[in-house]
């Protein structure tokens, strides 16, 4: 992987960790992730990546058109 790609990957990784943890984990009565928290996180990551891909397409379509 190229350096630029690696940095994008790390940025996305950091952003997903913050966002999905914030949205999915609220119970601090134990130090172990519950099944519910784990399932929520899987869906959060999946949804965010699908959202990102869709936004990329829209951005390419619309922004490129406007630029011409």
């Amino acid at each position: 992987m190229e350096k630029k790609q690696m940095q994008d990957f790390l940025q996305l990784y950091s952003k997903l960790s913050i966002r999905c943890f914030s949205d999915c984990v609220n119970d601090f009565s134990t130090r172990t992730i519950t099944d519910k928290e784990s399932a929520c996180t899987t869906l959060c990551v999946e949804k965010f990546i699908k959202m990102s891909q869709r936004m990329s397409q829209r951005f390419a379509e619309q922004h490129m058109i406007n630029q011409q």
Binding site: D23, C24, C40, L43, E46, K47, R54, M55, N66
Partner: protein, 81 residues
């Protein structure tokens, strides 16, 4: 770096900033903070498409307004130089 390479780099940076701002903002507007499924629902997808279109249009409007303000400021500061 050549003038052209510099402009290409700035254009790239502008696009990245615009895209990241759009993703973060539209995520907040269109995706509720609980996750019942990994796919985008129909409602989420429609909301995201409209949000993207509006975000790009509004950003371009803001860019034009900023350029105008900057030109006005530059013109008003001319005499004092």
């Amino acid at each position: 770096m050549s003038q052209n390479a510099l402009m290409a780099e700035q254009e790239m940076e502008a696009m990245t900033l615009l895209f990241n701002g759009m993703v973060d903002t539209c995520y907040k507007k269109c995706i509720p903070g609980h996750y019942r499924e990994g796919d985008l629902t129909k409602g989420e997808a429609v909301c995201l498409d409209r949000c993207a279109a509006k975000y790009i249009d509004l950003s371009e409007k803001i860019g034009r307004q900023m350029t105008e303000i900057q030109n006005t400021l530059a013109a008003s500061q001319m005499p004092s130089q």
